[in-house]
């Protein structure tokens, strides 16, 4: 067992892990942060996307020991200080960008990373960026719409509904 320490959602966190323990498992099992979801075992689905030192990372592709000393942000740390939804979360609710909610944490974290790098993405850019995030419920329509809305773009003209 190895002790790892990191900053998670702005707070110090540490725990004992095996060398093979994934960051996703550390977050869920050691820290009880179960908002980071495990939807596959081949790093395809993106339900476990978190930010490590500001970069979007699939938490199942990283060992917990690799994140030692890093700053990690998860879905649990995304809301505003008063508990209200942040801009991206609010856009997902406003535009019905989630149904079962299982892919949602990864979608929100990927969207945040996208908008940080590209504050006004086109539809094509959003769709391309989400290649690593699978959703089985929404047909992606309202996810793409929510992300574009969160970027401040007018989504009223998007296909009739």
């Amino acid at each position: 067992m190895t002790q790892v320490s990191m900053t998670v959602n702005g707070k110090a966190a540490s725990g004992d892990v095996e060398g093979r323990t994934l960051l996703s498992a550390f977050l869920r099992e050691n820290l009880g942060l179960t908002g980071t979801h495990i939807g596959c075992d081949t790093s395809q689905c993106g339900a476990c996307v978190v930010h490590v030192d500001g970069n979007a990372v699939k938490a199942c592709t990283m060992l917990a020991v690799e994140a030692d000393g890093a700053s990690v942000d998860t879905i649990e740390g995304q809301a505003n200080a008063d508990g209200s939804l942040n801009v991206i979360q609010q856009a997902f609710q406003d535009h019905h960008g989630l149904q079962c909610g299982f892919c949602t944490p990864g979608m929100v974290m990927s969207a945040a990373a996208l908008l940080k790098d590209n504050p006004k993405p086109t539809e094509a850019e959003v769709r391309h960026y989400l290649e690593g995030n699978l959703c089985r419920c929404t047909g992606y329509h309202n996810i793409v719409k929510a992300i574009m809305a969160a970027s401040g773009q007018d989504v009223g003209a998007i296909a009739a509904e």
Binding site: E18, R20, R28, E29, L33, T34, G35, T36, H37, I38, G39, C40, D41, T42, Q44, C45, A47, T74, I75, E76, Q78, A79, L85, Q89, F92, Q93, D94, H96, L98, Q99, C100, G101, F102, C103, T104, P105, V108, E123, A124, V126, R127, H128, L130, E131, N133, L134, C135, R136, C137, T138, G139, Y140, H141, N142, I143, V144, I158, A159, A160, E161
Partner: protein
Amino acid sequence: MPKDHGIGAAPKRREDLRFLTGTGNYTDDINLNGQAHVFFLRADVAHAKINGLNSDAAAAMPGVVRIFTGADFEGVGGLPCGWQIHSKDGSPMNEPPHPVIAQGKIRYVGEIVAAVVADTLEQARDAAEAIELDLEELPAVVDMKAALADGSALVHDEVPNNRCYDWGFVEDNAAATDEAIKNAAHVTTLELVNNRLVANPMEPRVAIGDYTRHNDESTLYTTSQNPHVIRLLMGAFVLGIPEHKLRVIAPDVGGGFGTKIFHYAEEAFVTFASKQINRAIKWTSSRSEAFISDAQGRDHVTTIELALDADNNFTAVRTHTLANMGAYLSTFSTSVPTYLHGTLMAGNYTTPNIHVNVQAVFTNTVPVDAYRGAGRPEATFQLERVIDKAARELGVDPIALRRQNFISEFPYATPVALEYDTGDYPATMDKLEEIADIAGFAARRAASEANGKLRGLGVNCYIEACGIAPSNVAGALGARAGLYESATVRVNATGGVVVMTGAHSHGQGHETSFPQVIAEMIGIDEGQVEIVHGDTGRGAMGMGTYGSRSIAVGGAAMVRATEKIINKAKKIAAHLLEASDADIELKDGTFTVAGTDKSVAWGDVCLTAYVPHNYPLEDLEPGLEETAFYDPANFTFPSGAYACEVEVDPDTGAVSVERFSAADDFGNIINPMIVDGQVHGGIGQGIGQALRETTVFDENGQLLSASYMDYAMPRADDVPFYAVDHSCQTPCTHNPLGVKGCGEAGAIGSPPAVVNAVIDALNSGGHKVEHINMPVSPSRVWSAMQG
């Protein structure tokens, strides 16, 4: 002006707050004190005799609590099948046992051979590798036609020719159908495959068994669409646990799409084994396990013939289908190719003679069962493909050919046993032509061609049958379950309402939409209504959510219970207002004596029910809680018309979906935002089936498409924005809300639109391609274009 509350409004979903903040409660988020973990050793060959199994070394490894094998389950019941089909000769289907752990023989890759329970999952997994198996491999049965041939290896020794049943429907139509086809002016024939799919809800399955010795109670936490059904099936048929000693909890469930309806071996295992070791046991499926253990969908091979007279009126439809059951009969597997498929073969059309033949076949593959639409997509796909082919052969417009044959008078009794209550198929087609801008297609095709691309337009109709019912008719057809739904409406003393519904929400938003109905009926704020579901300890009974039944059946039960509440509340109000209860009106949360200004508020009546000081105790019990069971008189029949436009790159065969439009008639709508979302999701899955997804077994029964590296899930850049419309509304005539259901329509209506569009593109620019099986992949398109 859209409504801002009640039925027809679109309030934001309340469940989103927990899902968006990482505070949902999915089954894998639950960890119980002292829980052990199970790792299932699964077969890695498709067909073999188990001559020996030695787990001595494994049992001695660190952390191992106990290893279970088939021998531990010899006295335990098998997993039951919920629908008995009879073959056309009257004999019951072949129904071989479906053990929790393989008994002496392995029948598919993924079948559980042993279960290792250990303190940690890693210990269990390590120990499983030390189990020694002595297997005698047998030839694998994979292809359905080969499986039926004399001399084929047998999946089950007692099932000749691997045939589960040979079903004819409606047998009385057979001779007339044959005659009509013989006398037809034109017959179009098409052989096609409805590709096998893996449902792939994003949340893998999880099961936690928790036995408490002091009261002899078992609790199962499971990723289920219908926890009460699991309690009944597992308790009564597998483990022999009475309902009062068995609680099944399905908390937040991350998508289902059918594959979480069924009762699975893992659920029975953790419940059984937890009692054996007196300790909670948790199992979380990996995605790799899901691919070889979740029941899969579709997998039909069909030959369909459509007969037309000299005026292009449809005169007959005759089909022969082979339906793959996989190695064992999953819970509702047998009903999918029969009563959920054959009954839909009239579609939206007045075809007078229809006969459907289905042979269900055992193979050494993962069991197959309902997946979003379940039988209805298979029916729609073959019918709408053959109509398109007929239009091309006859040189007529495919939309005009459909319109010519539309059913136009309701109720309409089909030749395949259904009675459609309402619909307006020309109206949905009119709406489709408008939103899809069919008139503008020629210009868009020209623009594509100018860019070196082929462009195609595909149109189709669909009809769905939701909320299988009534129970007594379904029972006469072989169903072994009731098909009602229940609801208990509990009004608290200060006027808040809690609804215990048997429906289950795993993405459908019931926590938001169901309160809209109650709020409308009573005239209170939706925030005063809470929905409870997914726990057999909190709601008495339920049949769960599948087949687009939640609002049509579960919502109707809730309405009936609320009507009882209102009737009783009116009596209390009448007493308080010293009036006759016949004169009491309820509006906007206030009871009024008709024609007077005498009134009493909802909250005061509720309080009086629980503090019955001024109360007619001699005539009326205190309290305000009512239960209703609603058993529908008929199916509901949503319908619609869909259009897809694709571009095909002639150099690579790549297909891109450029436009997709859906005009649906769902009857009355409770929450249009949620309905839109349901249609979007169904279309996404339908495009996935049409262009990307398929499940491939090699000749040895090894699953080749067993991960997201190999199974092509649709991604955000595979699909466009969709134009959806549900303004055509012909309310259902036999349920109190006039609703029809919307959960599966998108997945039913979209695959034929996509394939019709590709074939249309491949009949432009001098090309001529009749049919391509799904998924219409670039290699298949390119190959077809080469002739």
